[in-house]
Symmetry: C2
Amino acid sequence: MPAGASGLSRPEGGPAATARHAVTAEEVARRAGVSQSAVSRAFTPGASVAPRTREKVLAAARELGYRPNAMARTLITNRSRIIGVVMAYLDNMIYPDVLEKLAAGLQRRGYQMLLFTGFKDRHSDPVFEQVMQYRVDGLLLASTTLSSDLSDECTAAGVPVVMFNRMTEHPLCSSVTSDNRNGGRQIAEFLVAGGHRRFAYIAGAAISSTNRDREAGFREGLSRHGFSQIGYAEGNLELGDTRTAARGLFAADEPPDAVFVGSDHMALAVMEVARHEFGLRVPEDVSIVGYDDVGAADWPSFSLTSFSLPVEPMVDAAVELMMEQIESSSILSHHRVVPGCLAVRGSARLPGGPVRDRDGTLIWAPGGME
Amino acid sequence: MPAGASGLSRPEGGPAATARHAVTAEEVARRAGVSQSAVSRAFTPGASVAPRTREKVLAAARELGYRPNAMARTLITNRSRIIGVVMAYLDNMIYPDVLEKLAAGLQRRGYQMLLFTGFKDRHSDPVFEQVMQYRVDGLLLASTTLSSDLSDECTAAGVPVVMFNRMTEHPLCSSVTSDNRNGGRQIAEFLVAGGHRRFAYIAGAAISSTNRDREAGFREGLSRHGFSQIGYAEGNLELGDTRTAARGLFAADEPPDAVFVGSDHMALAVMEVARHEFGLRVPEDVSIVGYDDVGAADWPSFSLTSFSLPVEPMVDAAVELMMEQIESSSILSHHRVVPGCLAVRGSARLPGGPVRDRDGTLIWAPGGME
DNA sequence: GTTTTTTTTGCATGCGTATGCAATTTCTCG
DNA sequence: CGAGAAATTGCATACGCATGCAAAAAAAAC
């Protein structure tokens, strides 16, 4: 067998001289026999140009391969049409989904996305400096928060901030979340109705509002039925930590018979530990419920009962909130809470209650819950 | 129970007047009692400024909250320090990973990332127009190809193009791939050595070079042992299509006892179908091997044997290739092929051969293969 | 202290576009 | 056909910064 070309770099063909001289509006103007202003106007929707002139300009532009320089435009209009998106990590499978939908949503409105990610461990402040230099029209934060000072700086600079899936106390940040509290509560009701007695909660990022609300809702729902003592561990949105957390709970004297895990990303890991390390049957021995309803939750191997994060409406809301503020050039601070519903599958024992079918997904809708 | 605030938007606090007047170098200069040039130089590493002056400037800048305007700088330097990244979809779990590592790599070198994604169905050409208007210094394409015309346009504009995980015939695009052909070949050898007789291949995007090479390598490896007739179906990188493909194969008169699926993303779906729809045991009834070695492949539920896509070195190579071209302002067209190795787990029957442990992962390294 | 060398500074200009304004053209209508 | 209204066009300027060049200041050499 030939050794193969593995690891080798095989250059083919020499470098091409690169003119690098981008075509300017000036040149197009000369070619079309008009002024530079005319060229500008031909590319500005709604500007005052005679149709015939516009045609001439567009033709010349096409011939020369002209493309307006967005940077130069930004300098004048003071609008970059770029949104800075900060997403510290993408492990949780909802984030790629969010990213795709977000990109599509922004694109549709003529905005681009400057993405900052891949700094899970490092701090996000240096990143912030970079974002701001590019004069983004808005800042969208997911899976991160901004220190209060930085939020102030944004406000001072007139850059609206929208937090996704997180809330903040800062008076001038907007946010979009799912109804975490209600979700936690519904899960509690569901599990209680399913006849469980020993509950546990595995937290995500303990400091995040999202985690706090889910936990609070869960505890609230449980205590309404007299369950106030529950197992607790922290997974930190990290698979390693999550497994450790799960092991701790399952190895206890009185292991839980129902575990609510703060996000599917972790819940799947918990299920793996339960089954393959402790030989537990799900849901016969232990019920596991997650939050987010990621794609894999629906796979037969997992069939994870999970509270659906309404990604699409959340993204829409976030984009709307952003546009609203950009267009009105004023910082608004609205908090949008999008309702979700419990996708009932096989990882938790079913209560007798009202499980309905909606678009092929079972959801649970007890009276007065919704 | 209260109806809850679901779906409601609750404004808090009025809008804040937004000055929106960003601080300019001019203002900093006045405050520091120097010229605007001095300010510029204070922020340019290696520029000619007295330390004392620089201090004064930085102090004034800090007081005023000055941040250099990257757009204005771009206009002069003709360098945006932005790389356009086009990633049509993020379903395949390696892409979020790539994105994170890429962002980190670019960030480290002072580059930002303008991301275009979420247009799986739509064509990527309109997106292209947008990217180019922002005068990106380079273009990185993953999970997409560029039409030949567009490649030409990039070259004409002096914008280097690096394809990630895809190759192209175009003479002036660089590319970074794993050694797909060798990977396919190794998998064939591995499965043959494991005693399988009836092989099948499930393709990803049939037109992509990556898929072609994996398939070619697989067929090549098999035919070397006299197996030239194999099952074939197309998953199109789509879970729905993949399931259909798998059903077709497993329902055949002579179902395969070894399936190589073009990517883990699809392989996991195939495994689900095998187990839960056909009641097949993996690997007793059928062996399944994937490519990419995504995170989930290692979960006990799947324990998917898979050829590891060397994401980190690939990203490094891509970034290097990009930087090299940007810094030399010349389009190079290098093709970098990064070697990988087979991560041996439980989804395929083991051959007697030389399975070694490396960093906790079993790999298979028959003589002369590497 | 003077001359030479080196470092630092400010001036002026230009990057590519958008836009207010005035000049010009075209259109409308009597 | 002419006056007025409306539409179109070009001119000039500004956006915020980097940079070549010459002037000024500081340092070094004598």
